[in-house]
């Protein structure tokens, strides 16, 4: 069975924060703004820890890419039950342009280095909504993938994954090693209890540079501009159904 699980955790702006675009339209305001672990990554960590509790997995390693602050996010994963953490140091311009392509290269390199046989990621991050890292990582490793997982079960040396797709639920069986991305209904992540937060202080976080993994961080994307969504326009009230039809025709909607 899978000895080691790698779980990717991303530090993102907290879901409850009101996002503001920077005055120069190059991005969103992150200074002084509350950040926390991406909710889908929390679900990924929870799933990995549950597998360990069921003794189907020996070690859970939490990985995050970014500047010093991502250590907070790794600590949260450790407080939830991960055994140790890996902080891949990326900062400055490299961090600004860090995207799924670079992260998946990093994760693939780490998976080989750590001899992981399972990678669990959140299905997407709530800041960029890319939904690419899991898929790219699997492709780079030439591993099967079970994305949008709402249920994961170990069956011998295979994984049964129930996926949430537009038409309903799809059940697939994939060989290990594999990449799984967590969807909302996979589980409800546990709280980090205070005793576990204290224990997590003693768990180790190792620092790694992307260069050490042979990963090139150059981005193929250039952000041209970031704008707020258009302000919601006031609606128009009409008296009768005929008026409604007339207005819709006017607006070219029908």
């Amino acid at each position: 069975m899978a000895a080691r699980v790698l779980v990717g955790v991303k530090r993102v702006i907290d879901y409850a924060v009101k996002i503001r675009v920077k005055p120069d339209n190059t991005g969103v305001v992150t200074d002084g703004v509350k950040h926390s672990m991406n909710p889908f990554c929390e679900i990924a960590v929870e799933e990995a820890v549950r597998l360990k509790e069921k003794k189907l997995v020996k070690e859970v390693v939490a990985v995050s890419c970014g500047p010093q602050q991502v250590q907070e996010t790794i600590r949260t994963a450790l407080a939830m039950g991960a055994d140790r953490g890996i902080h891949v140091e990326v900062s400055g311009k490299d961090y600004d342009s860090l995207g799924p392509l670079q992260v998946s290269k990093i994760l693939a390199a780490l998976a080989k280095k750590e001899e992981a046989s399972l990678i669990i990621l959140g299905k997407q991050a709530i800041d960029d909504d890319c939904n690419q890292t899991g898929q790219m990582t699997a492709a780079l490793l030439d591993w099967p993938q079970g994305t949008f997982a709402s249920e994961v079960a170990v069956e011998g040396d295979k994984l049964k994954v129930i996926r949430e797709v537009d038409g309903g639920l799809e059940t697939i069986k994939i060989n290990l090693p594999a990449v799984v991305t967590a969807d909302l209904r996979l589980n409800t992540p546990r709280y980090a209890t205070l005793p576990n937060i204290m224990k997590a202080k003693k768990k180790k976080i190792t620092n790694v540079k992307p260069g050490d993994l042979g990963v090139d961080l150059t981005s193929r994307l250039e952000v041209l501009r970031v704008d707020e969504p258009p302000q919601r326009q006031a609606g128009v009230k009409v008296e009768t159904v005929e008026d409604l039809v007339g207005k819709l025709k006017e607006a070219g909607r029908i």
Partner: protein
Amino acid sequence: MKMKTQQTAHQLPLSTSPEVVCFAFESQKEFKEVARKFAQEEIIPVAPEYDRSGEYPFPLIRRAWELGLMNSHIPEDYGGLGLSSFDSCLITEELAYGCTGVQTAIEANSLGQMPVIIAGNEAQKKKYLGRMTEEPLMCAYCVTEPGAGSDVAGVRTRAVKKGDEYIINGQKMWITNGGKANWYFLLARTDPDPKCPASRAFTGFVIEADTPGVQPGKKEMNMGQRCSDTRGVTFEDVRIPKENVLLGEGAGFKIAMGAFDKTRPPVAAGATGLAQRALDEATKYALERKTFGRLIADHQAISFMLAEMAMKVELARLAYQRSAWEVDDGRRNTYYASIAKAYAGDIANQVATDAVQIFGGNGFNSEYPVEKLMRDAKIYQIYEGTAQIQRLIISREHLAKYKR
């Protein structure tokens, strides 16, 4: 305009405000996060119902216990986390933000345990603190009587030594967790001589709640913090083994008072949590309600009220943090603890009242969250040392500095 009330309370914009508190350790931020999440997601949605019914919030207490948010003062040797006063206060403020009734039920444990923590011997600590971390049990601090509140020296409950036991007779009142406690810290008079000074006349005991003769009275229906269990407790010929005496005969008064230096900072933190909640609710309302063509927050009458409420909350927070830091740093913090408790209790009442005012007619109504805050706030000027007693302490400490 009727706005959504209790249901939206958990969407308060707390997480948008950058934290200005200085954290010494990263873990303090994490503790605060857990407490905040618990308060927002689990306490706030059910608090109004517990307030209405007065039912003891045991499910919430159990959850808090499971998460390690309770019994934070218990040293690691006895299964606790041994958190500093500062850490405990951070947690307390977050829980109180959710509901001070729930938080008081939890805090009463700290108050009951403190005499054992500061004065218990090894066996007593192991026995009475150890069990608190093994299951979610409650304890209580039994000092106040129908005839003696502020005047602790006026306590009449008698403890008479008979062989290897003490026989207790008396009446205690307003005991938080009185009907739910597994054990009590009890203060009783062991020296009947009225000329004997308070510093020698009283003894502190630990009493198992199921000891024959211990009779909790009915649950009292109070103005606020209604889900907290407050009762009179009668002691009729209750027999306590001498092993349950804390420190020794005659040491009770000092122990009972010594506990307060550690427990007043968290009480101040609780009052601050309530005040912060009142401020957040009022601010949110002020940014939605319109009058005379503008948001009420744009009228200076309201914005100035909010400014003053904010000033009070920030200062109360700094006060409790100072008092907690002083005791954690090993110094006697009586002066700061009293200041923090007095100030936080007073401003909690002012801020809650102002919040009701900002809500206007809606504020007076039970479907909006602020009237509960106003009712809950009042007790902060009464328990754990009344506002008047705090002023007595502060003036005494203050003048003592000049007299030297």
